[in-house]
Symmetry: C2
Subunit: 396 residues, 2 copies
């Protein structure tokens, strides 16, 4: 939510949904710059804030939003109540600033719904088993919404965003990008993981797990957006559904690592212990008893990851470490890829044709990702969008 005018518009919309006869729970995030403002306050005090206290302060952003939205809905004459994460009973683990939801108590929600109230819930937050406030980190508000929908076995979870839905690729990069009317959970998951920021992969994962259909749509208009749901095989006919790219990628390479059991385990366990999310991993034998290992992480984690790697050098025996934070990941996603083995090759061909060098490649059943130079990312996206005819809504 951005400002008073937008809050009023959301209130109108919420009241409309109620008027259609639905029980309505609304999950809101913090307004506009609130979170940045709070982080700014913190930075005036310390560069190294305790994460528990970060959660105490950050969670106020959503608390302000729920009260304001509840007031705006009430102003329309509709019964409404706001609830914080703690009041709902959203119980999380104890990992402050990146907590995961363990359980949602539905008693209070059901009581308020049964009482005829629209319920406005603060997204992004919960409490751990000590009743300490936790926040869910990235994608937290969407994740809260899906978790509540799952706990209450809701018919549908609508995700309001600032774009009209899920696109074949980023419309800011490719003019011909087309909104998808429907996309399967697993395709959406890959797209989300690959940098299509409209939905965080956590929320997609949760929706898939509980079979909650999502409707990703704009908060600025009443257009239908993109439905994310389980899609049966008849409909899974597009070979490539979308092209995603992600600039928040850094690459670390280790050369001449000992080739013996347990080395990779030691490396990636140590990175996981530091909560560093490693994305692509490639290991290749280069010469006798020596390997090269490369992996990617977010740019923000690069420094921390390099520190972990440096600390392990004696144990893993690497002769060299390189890093590069001027790379990007470009991916094609499509449920049809699994039965069309030549698709990855088409991708490599198209990129090679534009002189784009592939630094790393990673594939799954429904996507192929390449690490390339960051400044070639947009060209790569345009090339792939054209190559796979994504501007046209054709069933191949």
């Amino acid at each position: 939510m951005a400002d008073a005018e937008r809050i009023r518009r959301v209130a109108r919309r919420v009241a409309d949904a109620r008027a259609e006869g639905n029980g309505v729970i609304v999950v809101v995030s913090a307004m506009g710059d609130t979170t940045d403002d709070l982080i700014h306050l913190v930075k005036e005090i310390t560069d190294n804030p305790p994460e528990r206290e970060m959660d105490v302060i950050l969670s106020t952003g959503e608390q302000v939003s729920i009260a304001l939205l509840a007031m705006a809905v009430k102003e329309l004459g509709v019964p409404v109540i706001s609830l914080t994460g703690a009041q709902v009973g959203i119980v999380t683990d104890n990992v402050h600033t990146k907590a995961r939801i363990l359980n949602v108590d539905t008693a209070r929600l059901r009581k308020e719904l049964d009482g005829g109230n629209i319920v406005i819930v603060a997204g992004f937050q919960g409490v751990n088993d000590c009743n300490d406030i936790t926040t869910l980190g990235r994608g937290g508000s969407d994740t809260t919404a899906v978790a509540l929908a799952a706990a209450l076995k809701a018919d549908l979870c609508e995700i309001y965003t600032d774009v009209d839905g899920v696109y074949t690729t980023d419309p800011r990069v490719v003019d011909e990008a087309r909104k998808l009317d429907m996309v399967s959970y697993d395709e959406m998951l890959e797209l989300a993981n690959l940098g299509a920021v409209v939905l965080h992969p956590r929320s997609v994962e949760l929706a898939m797990q509980y079979g909650i259909p999502l409707h990703v749509r704009s908060s600025f208009n009443y257009n239908l957006g993109t439905i994310v749901k389980e899609v049966d095989s008849m409909e899974r006919s597009l070979v490539v559904t979308g092209v995603a790219y992600d600039l928040d990628v850094a690459k670390i390479g280790l050369y001449d690592v000992f080739d013996k059991p347990g080395i990779a385990y030691k490396l990636f366990k140590s990175l996981a212990d530091e909560k560093i999310n490693v994305d692509m991993i490639i290991q290749s034998a280069t010469r006798d008893e020596r390997n090269d290992i490369s992996f990617t992480c977010s740019r923000g984690d690069l420094k921390k990851a390099l520190a972990v790697v440096q600390g392990l050098l004696p144990e893993i025996g690497a002769n060299g470490v390189t890093s590069n934070d001027s790379v990007a990941k470009v991916s094609i996603v499509g449920a049809g890829m699994v039965s069309n083995p030549g698709v990855a090759a088409l991708m490599f061909e198209a990129l090679a044709g534009e002189g784009i060098n592939l630094e790393m490649i990673s594939t799954s059943e429904i996507k192929t990702s390449c690490i390339i130079k960051a400044d070639q990312a947009e060209k790569a996206v345009r090339t792939l969008h054209k190559k796979f005819n994504l501007a046209k809504n054709i069933i191949s």
Copy 2:
């Protein structure tokens, strides 16, 4: 708390108190303009916010403060934890925006103190028995502090403010105003009720009830302030301890009210039902079977009070209603007044000598208050401060 610099100074102070070997609980209020900013946000949405939602939004102000102060204390290497009113278990009644504390659960506080933590508690807030957030209204943070001190049987409750302590009168009005080293609960209570804004009467009342000594002192320096405690009779020797004034006063007069039983009850019960705090009440018989009734309330309640009065006119039969919000209350307070019956007369004499007309008079064992024209308030305060020699620390 005002800004980052002040937060750091408070943190230093808190750490010092801990270093002296004390278990320390700190109750904080919202920073500088936070509350005003939140109210401004609300006003953009509605002129008539539901009070429950007001509490949800207002309570975030203190939540931001506790997190920042905890971070600043942690930065000094001292173990610390912040707790919201809900987390402490400050249970209140259900009167949103003006809740009263019913009970304080000490389990979490004791656990954190026993664990060696300084505990930073959000003042001004609690939860009702439905786990809904409530705020305590005026004086809420001081009241929280005293309530925690009482619940934990603390040795002392320090109240940090922007002045050096309790003065014989407002130093902005009277240059010779003198800081009191010690004042009794009941004198402080009268002073607080009479407009000496340094402490809210609620907190004084609670301290008196539980016998918690208060130390009212400045957050800007380490000077000793004013101790508020039970004072034995030997020390209660100053006839007049202080002069207070209050400009937040409005007066309503009803003329020719029926003189029959139940009229006053009906009037003041109706005002109480609307949560209007009536201060002074004067009733005088003017002619057969008719009375005049005058009373005062805060200026903010005047409109609401007049509406109540108008609605009751048929029942109470008043022939006229007047109101005036350009009045002030000037009072002298002193535990010695009870045994010095001439003190009130000295007050009236001094004011008459300055041509100040008394519109209403009210007395108790330890104070005498007069309603006068608002624009004469400062002159009255200076006159009375001089009349009773308050600039000199003499035992009369």
